[in-house]
Symmetry: C2
Subunit: 497 residues, 2 copies
């Protein structure tokens, strides 16, 4: 269980499963005890610690531990915690899966939101389901279903993507000067697969990659899973600290740099124009490719749009990732990469080996959704709702969070980064917040090299303004009370005076 | 250009592109000359050789070479071939993509069919577009579009798959005893992604994997791309040679074994029941996991279905891969894996990092297609058409192929393996076959360690019986003529008598 590094103990629990959460957790731990992965005498994390880590109520964890104790697999010792007592089952088959499956690199998975009396879960960075224009979506499906080439949409396709969609996106990219002469475009299953393919093509185990710190968990886990060494570049209000970046690029010559230029996940920060230019110049001098992940760029609620790094790059060292997921329907996995042809040729080969090609039905539907103008109509609605939600979030932070709290001021996207005043710890606060119906992801999920225990991410885009206000009000009250409690604990106890 | 190993020179040319094939080939080679990848003085393959290799007409290759010569990039020398004369362009940007992109591991891509006066392209192993039941497909889409949970289908989903589909497939797997107690099921983007995820989870560079020889190109390229060493197990009429396999498993202890139990690609061979049992026992003794790729199993046109290896395995060492692609719509990328939970837990994590989850629209549509009975109706039609096509192929082989030719006798699937009589070479024969409107994949595309120059794959399932008969008749005539030509060349020339 590696109690020294509890983040490694992170079962993927499903809040949508019919199996109760405590039972899922029970089965997860029981399996590890029976397989021998957790040996007799090993100490389980404290219920409070595990609850905070997994974003569960402490009662859920306690129920799982009770069930494990009833099953004779663990025993509690007063004041010391719970210890494994059960024995592994003898191996029955020829394949020892547990020995075979290197246990070191199971990825952490955060709480996925959802619990008893939920007020507001700020956990998921995803659009609001209530905003989905279902009738417009149906209309685009109908249009695809009546196309004469429906048969070819259903037939095996090209690894490059559904050609009409690819051409549409390439035309758009050329029109916006996002594609340079000689650039190519590849359709992927969202930005996540584009990042995966880039890693597969460019990385060898032990390579260094420069990323933002804090950074999107899915990127961190992907790259470390590929054996990369991550160098974190601190993210400030203007995005990456480019002076720091310049030193890292010069000293470490990383294999590539990943940057989220707009409304970065988790901080919401946007790279200023000057910082974009400085980043490009530093990357050019060091000969380091720039992977510009722009999943959120189309979600600007206020202020002027900035040119993409890819647009500013005159030297062909940048590859740009975009997606339909954040601005339309994430359940349809369609994104794309634009960049220099030699790289794109290799990404296309990697794509073919990974899964032949991206689902063509969704590609065709999203093409119609875009070409019919329905995407623009939807985007306008999403932008308006996003502006209200962002305003509600920023306003509530000002109104409810105690003095000394700091937060970012994004102009778009889905996320806000909050830094609690000393001595509050976002992970320790979480179980109490969840008991009161509020959830978020503590900063440690996003940490690369700087573990900021006082930070947390609030993903506001999927919530109604009212939920946002109520949720942040509760957070503010809890924070205030915990600060008072902490300051009382710092004073001499009255009984001793 | 590594003329010593021409298979490495295999640009991915698209027959569906608006850019003519000769121009695509021109650009591919020009790019490599300009980038310096092909150095001054390097010899290009002969046009005939390259045409055979890429499945192109020789005139296409000649046109590309002419254009390269006009552009001053190559020069022909009578009787010696064409040589690179052009100079690489100086690097303009900060990133040297060509130096960065390891050139050694570009994957070979075969001819993709389609050319001037096509009679029959036996190149693609895919279902017939003409058989797609478009109205039934539309009906299933309509049913999904009217579902009350349409919004959640469009929202970000679970890496495990769309839960109603996952449950349906798991119930089916349990009903058929394909899932053991404690097994789990994961939805993937077809079998290809399942193979990819298994490789990602189980393989480290340098690991050995046992595969059939010959084997599906997409598997060969995937595994070698991951740095695996492949050990080929010869495939006979009853599938893998299990005595050979037993020796390999004992001696090499590969990381895992991949086997296509039914209608193997490329040979069409099916593992007998005795061979399945022998394989399982050998794997159990050696402690080697079995990956059973069963993409074709549902396409049995005659004879009795055999139990899957997964069904026979009582020791939990087998993982089974299946897919909707071959029996319904390959453009919708939905397959699944059933196997031991510890492995499936890891595959689900890898899936989440690879692309978050499989497209949910297609999952929902295929679930409706299956549950409404439309899949069964379609399968019955596919089986009937498949039986006719297989009969046409086998009958035509008997009727038209010259004495000494041998071929497999599959009872289902999409592929037939033909071994030409001596001294015919399937690669050398291809340019002539293509000139006469017939294409196929030479055996070398599928070779692991035994290069069988006389073998070729005929993928018959996508062609009408008439096309199959005409195509094989042409092949037979060409073979007969080439045999006669070869035997004349063996006799003393009459001019010298």
């Amino acid at each position: 269980m590696r109690t020294g590094h509890p983040l490694e103990f992170t079962p993927a629990l499903s809040h949508e499963s019919e199996v109760p959460l405590y039972r899922q957790l029970y089965e997860h731990i029981a399996l590890r005890i029976r397989s021998g992965e957790l040996g007799r005498g090993e100490r389980l994390p404290a219920t409070r610690e595990l609850a905070g880590l997994l974003g569960l109520n402490r009662t859920t964890v306690s129920a799982a531990y009770d069930a494990l104790e009833t099953a004779g697999l663990i025993a509690g010792q007063v004041g010391r915690g719970s210890f494994v007592t059960g024995q592994p089952e003898p191996a029955t088959g020829g394949v020892d899966w547990n020995a075979m499956l290197d246990r070191g690199d199971v990825m952490p998975a955060g709480p996925t939101g959802g619990f008893g009396h939920e007020v507001a879960s700020f956990v998921m960075s995803r659009p609001s389901r209530e905003l989905f224009p279902l009738d417009d979506f149906r209309a685009s499906c109908q249009s695809v279903l009546s196309r004469p080439d429906l048969g070819s949409i259903l037939q095996l396709g090209s690894p490059s993507g559904y050609e009409p969609l690819r051409r549409h996106l390439m035309d758009e990219a050329r029109r916006q000067s996002l594609a340079r002469p000689g650039d190519d475009l590849l359709i992927t299953n969202g930005c996540q697969q584009a990042l995966d393919l880039i890693g597969r093509v460019l990385l060898r185990p032990g390579d260094t990659v420069a990323v933002e710190d804090p950074v999107y968990t899915g990127l961190k886990n992907l790259l470390t899973g590929m054996g990369a060494q991550l160098v974190g570049i601190p993210v400030g209000a203007d995005g990456m600290d480019t002076a720091h970046l310049e030193r890292v690029l010069e000293r470490e010559r990383p294999r590539f740099l990943v940057v989220t230029s707009n409304f970065q996940n988790p901080t919401g920060a946007t790279l200023s124009l000057a910082a974009r230019r400085a980043l490009l110049e530093a990357a050019r001098v060091a000969g380091v490719p720039v992977v510009e992940n722009d999943a959120y760029g189309e979600l600007r609620y206020q202020g002027e749009a900035l040119p993409a790094i890819k647009q500013l790059d005159e030297h062909g060292g940048t590859v740009l990732l975009r997606s339909f997921s954040k601005v339309s329907f994430p359940g349809l996995r369609v994104g794309w990469v634009v960049g220099p042809k030699p790289l794109l040729d290799r990404l296309r080969h990697a794509k073919e080996l990974a899964d032949l090609h991206t689902d063509q039905l969704s590609q065709a539907v999203l093409l119609d959704f875009a070409q019919s103008g329905r995407l623009e109509t939807h985007r306008a609605r999403v932008l308006q709702a996003g502006a209200e939600r962002l305003a509600a979030a920023l306003d509530s932070c000002r109104r409810y969070l105690p003095a000394g709290t700091r937060w970012t001021q994004p102009q778009g996207g889905m996320n806000l980064w909050v830094r609690l005043p000393e001595p509050l710890d976002a992970g320790e606060l979480l179980p109490r917040a969840q008991r009161e119906g509020v959830a978020y992801l503590p900063g440690r999920y996003f940490a690369v090299s700087r573990l900021d225990a006082g930070a947390l991410r609030l993903s506001f885009a999927g919530l109604e303004p009212e939920q946002i206000r109520n949720g942040i009000a509760i957070l503010g009250r809890i924070m205030t009370e915990e600060i008072e409690k902490a300051s009382r604990n710092m004073e001499p106890s009255s009984a001793l005076v």
